[in-house]
Symmetry: C2
Subunit: 417 residues, 2 copies
């Protein structure tokens, strides 16, 4: 099945908005085994008509997003109706939705907005619970007189309106049209602490030998998502291979990121975490508190960037700095144990390292970092890592390694030195 | 001047990579007064030939990125040479660059890599100091026999290779070809704490009356970048209007973000900052420590998510929680003043609020937040804000408002209640 995307939006071409919709749609379709064949972005206005016609002539399905709004240069609906020579008529259901939508907000329905209730004859309305413009579906048969045979979907541009419509209206139809659509499964194994090339080397040959399995990798936020798609049996076989090779590195199988996993593990155990951060400067605490419900597991954190702060608030002995330096196993350990003591938490994570670009030495180059995890009634774990490169990447990977150390302890898995 | 972008890259269509290059190029060209007319993304492989030919027939300039690498499906160079019927020859300069590049890394130049030194006759090499594949420029005259007249640029896909090549090789040529290219200027006024619609309402009419001024808005990270482009005199006239309306809200005129501005202001004054964060959970500290050199201005920070932490580490009196609640002006003030005292810093920022989605009440709904700034020998400033909505957005906007409060104090500007 050949699918093309057409986006309308001057803001995308001016670079004022990054096209995250396209990547999201790409992932959803890849999960169905469809690789988007082409993506075309054109400005707001009448050029959308040409772009849709070109894509429809080449494709089985065209997903068009944007240009359904109330302003003068939102012409996607009208352009498609013209192309297919379909008369438009006011749709009572959409009009009722608009009336209700604006009544809730205490505003009248403007004349411009009423255009959104005009529906080309033969097109189906796809409801938009999160906005005013409904989606429209034009079955392939409507294009037949014009020498093409493509299903055309018109979708709203804002992500919070587009995404549910793709999931609820577009994907079920695609599944119907795909030979194996109904039985197709997708699984994401999130692997932490292992590089893509190591994963490829360890499992790709075995995975490629599984008939009907589509394999993909997505690197994001310091993790690699291994995407397995296909019939249930193929996905199961693929998952077994990845689990056998990387069981202890698989953070989640449901796309949850590591801070969500850690907060859940702590919540289940009724335990508390504290943090003592030097080089990550609050990134670990910030990631933990990104998770709703984190106030049940996280109460006390320190950002001890200066050595005086490490001494004063965490009780790190002054002589450790003289003897071993601030970036050392000993200081990391003392920071974690100090945070554990002063917070009363069950676990405390600490990091101390050199984020750069300055501050490195031959012995401790930029990118060097020590991580420690102190827990009540257990030995303190320490870990050395080396993440040279940009400052933001250093903070991301260091916080990732620290959270993974905690995940391992909470899950009863050995640490990975 | 009509410019189109063509990207090759299966990873973009699968959604494994977000197309940030396209937005970046769009912004650079918008600054020159050029709106990208169309953007086309195709998979790796031979289809790139069709996409380039289509774009070249419609355009004056085609910017192609990706597909210059050493693997089998990197076919951009060969496809363009075939299209234009140009023979390829080994280029000694590129070969010398490849030899040097790999010698530095102690690796041999593979046969596959040598393909990158093949240059179509008539094309100019654009050096790539950050990678192996050079860029190639095909002057419009080379396409004339084929009924088009477009300049074609082949550029590498990785952002750190693409961006300098656009700046150093593509933009100077575009400026030459534009009627006002050489004299064209661009200015970004970063406005903090004011919504786009308020900016539009206050200044858009006046700005649109300036002949030759191109105006754009880019909303990112809680700020609005007002982009003014055109002849120097038009940009100056536009900037004067925006400055008159929003002088105290303009964070920077050189694209620096607020944490960079604040770290620089503190550095210039030789002053120290401390942070005491509840609902932002370390986001302010993390943003500050994203800036290289922040260790000279930031030493001590607290993440006091729990009330006990606010009492224990910052000395917030227990009766304040009973009397006013944790989310109150009084607690914010006591947190900031406690952080100032316990850190010895010159300034201390605090925040306490309800990030949601739970924890709101009728009196203090989700999104309510109090911010305080305590400074040595000065009155403490407090500020109430209301940012309902998603948790990550709440943290972003709250940290933005806190950093802006500090920027105002450091710049001698009144706060905005």
């Amino acid at each position: 099945m050949r699918v093309e995307l057409v986006n309308t939006g001057t803001e995308l071409l001016l670079g004022d908005t990054i096209n995250t919709n396209a990547a999201w749609i790409g992932q959803r379709l890849a999960a169905l085994g469809i690789q988007v064949a082409r993506q075309t972005i054109v400005p707001d206005g009448a050029i959308i008509r040409t772009a849709i016609a070109e894509a429809a002539q080449r494709s089985d399905v065209v997903l068009v997003s944007g240009g359904l709004g109330p302003t003068n240069d939102d012409l996607t609906r009208e352009s498609t109706a013209e192309l297919l020579k379909l008369p438009m008529a006011l749709n009572d259901g959409v009009m009722a939705h608009l009336n209700e939508y604006f009544a809730k907000r205490g505003k009248p329905v403007s004349e411009a907005t009423k255009r959104q209730a005009m529906v080309p004859t033969g097109a189906s309305v796809m409801p938009n619970p999160f906005g005013t413009a409904p989606g429209l579906y034009f079955p392939a048969t409507l294009g037949a007189p014009l020498s093409w045979n493509a299903h055309i979907f018109l979708l709203p541009g804002p992500p919070r309106e587009l995404k549910p419509m793709i999931e609820n209206e577009v994907e079920p139809r695609l599944r119907e049209w795909l030979p194996d659509g109904a039985s197709r499964r997708v699984l994401y194994l999130k692997v932490t602490g292992v590089g893509e090339s190591d994963i490829v080397e360890a499992v790709e040959k075995q995975l490629e030998a599984i008939a009907g399995l589509d394999l993909g990798y997505c690197i994001r936020g310091g993790d690699v998502d291994v995407r397995l798609a296909g019939p249930q049996s193929a996905v199961d076989a693929g998952a077994a291979i990845v689990r056998a090779a990387f069981s202890d590195c698989i953070t989640s199988e449901d796309r949850r990121i590591i801070e969500e996993v850690v907060v859940q593990l702590l919540t289940e155990r009724g335990e508390w975490l504290s943090t003592a951060e030097s080089c990550t400067g609050g990134t670990i605490a910030s990631r933990i508190t990104d998770v709703s419900g984190s106030s049940r597991v996280f109460g006390h954190g320190w950002v001890t960037y200066a050595n005086e702060a490490k001494q004063q608030h965490l009780g790190v002995p002054a002589e450790l700095f003289e003897k071993h330096g601030a970036v050392s196993e000993e200081v990391a350990r003392a920071m974690a144990e100090g945070a554990l003591k002063h917070s009363g938490a069950d676990h405390a994570l600490s990091v101390t390292g050199i984020a750069g670009p300055t501050g490195g030495t031959a012995e401790k180059p930029v990118g060097t970092v020590w991580i420690a995890l102190a827990s009540k009634n257990t030995e303190t774990w320490t870990l050395k890592r080396f993440y040279p490169g940009a400052r933001d990447r250093f903070k991301l990977l260091t916080s990732q390694a620290a959270l993974d150390l905690l995940r391992r302890r909470l899950s009863g898995i050995a640490r990975r030195l």
